[in-house]
Amino acid sequence: MDKLASLLHTTPAIAWMVLKVVIVFAGVMSLAAIFTWVERRGSAMIQDRIGPNRAALFGKIRIIGLAQILADGIKMFFKEDLIPTAANRGLFFLAPFLAFVPALLGFAVIPFGKSFVSGGTTYHLSVLDPGNGMGMLYPLAIGGMAVYGVLVAAWSSNNKWSILGGMRSSAAMVSYEIGMSLAVVSIFMTTGGYDPSEIIRAQGHQPWTWNIVRQPLGFIVFFTCMFAETNRLPFDFAEGESEIVAGFNTEFGSMKYSLLALAEYSHMMTASALIATLYFGGWQVPFVKDPSVLLSVACFVAKLVFFAWVFVWIRWTVPRFRYDQLMNLGWKRMLPLSMVNLVFHAWRMSQGH
């Protein structure tokens, strides 16, 4: 442990930063890849099927079908990369990245473990240190960027189904963003700051002091809006194979499609990290006052995986909404509810809390 600490002290700050970036983004990306498998296997189990369990390493080691991820990756990588003649080539190439990068970037401010002091310096386990002045506003802003990925993908492929999907989903994302932001604002208010580490510290280690108990209404609104933000069922208006073929990614094939799919899952990871941070105490370990660093990281990852699983779980429970239902829900239910939540907490604070 001492050796590890001295190694830490001698590493320059930039190396520590690079290490964090690599760990976070490699971790999130591999979790996203694993969740493509979890989605298929989980949905199969929910529907009394078995799901992909055949793919095996070297044709022998089956490991419950986890090699399916590799097989899918290799297959996608070697497929022909077709570009429609009428497509806008530049944007068509750019779109998967526009979808993928914001999905990952949102993760940057989220502390995935407890900060620790070693040799007089504090080390923060988040890519951007707390006190950077952006706080939770950053993932919200980046979440807004995610609209471009879908919209550019849809527009550049010059396909009517794609454009319909892109328009629908961008409208949904924009309208749900308001409800989501208002729900987050009431957390900022009760916390008295918008830095994620502050929000986590304010929630404490007892599960009944977490924001889920303090603001259940806000949680419901935020959680629902996250589904619209990540374009997951029941709000996956970008796709919708029964109505508009495959929606915004109709024309995408091979690695581009793979990136778009990965973007969705990375977005899911970021969203579940946000939910865990804002409402479930982030890295706080329930009932443990001063957890070790590793335990806090493990607890955060456990929460992250659980909420990602809830995303999958809900997808295979609830059917897709109709577009007008979605808009009604967004503007007539979610927005007023988050306002009620905001006003209620403002009133409570004014009463001397």
């Binding site: 929910i46 529907q47 009394d48 099927r49 078995i50 419901i220 809900i314 295979w316 429970t317 609830v318």
Partner: protein, 187 residues
């Protein structure tokens, strides 16, 4: 005359949408857990190469030419099946043989060649119906596939051995009694 369709009245709890979704999630989770802890052999899915479906009685699968205990073919080359076959996939060539021990007559008829073109066969079971000696059965093997057309032409010995492993019988490739050219027998 239109029919008035009454809308289902939802309680306030159902109209919140949150509670019904949670109920639905409970149902899906129950299915998930149940399926997760069901052993593979008891799941609905039959994982094909390792597990095979037990076909129901009366299933018409791959043919078998039946044999007597000594390995003599039951078929008497009466051509009934060839006539009955709507797909015209059976072709028989008859021959004569003498067998004083087992069968009742001195001279008997049997197929020298009995070919079924499995690519043509429609598994209708007409040959089985037509056979007066119960010599051809359509049994439960459904895995009739090959890489080339020639191996789908089943000959007499292929057809006699199709179920040999399943029944625990020997594979045979020779008639117990030799064929007798017709002209050599003294009448």
């Amino acid at each position: 005359m239109g029919v008035v369709v009454k809308k289902a009245e939802l309680s306030w709890l159902d109209r919140t949408y949150v509670w019904p979704v949670m109920k639905g999630m409970a149902i899906t989770f129950e299915h998930f857990i149940k399926q997760l802890f069901t052993p593979t052999s008891k799941r609905y899915t039959i994982q094909y190469p390792e597990m095979k479906k037990e076909m129901p009685d009366g299933y018409r699968g791959l043919h078998e030419l039946k044999r007597f205990e000594d390995g003599a073919i039951k078929c008497v080359a009466c051509f009934m099946c060839q006539e009955a076959c709507p797909a015209r996939c059976i072709s028989i060539e008859a021959e004569e043989f003498s067998d004083l021990n087992i069968t009742q007559g001195f001279e008997e008829k049997r197929p020298a060649q009995f070919k079924i073109d499995m690519l043509r066969c429609i598994y209708c079971g007409m040959c089985e119906e037509a056979c007066p000696k119960d010599a051809i059965w359509l049994r439960k093997d459904y895995e009739v596939a090959a890489y080339d057309r020639l191996s789908m032409q089943y000959g007499k010995w292929d057809l006699m051995n199709t179920y040999a492993e399943i029944d625990g019988k020997d594979r045979i490739s020779q008639d117990p009694t030799p064929t007798v050219p017709r002209r050599t027998i003294v009448m």
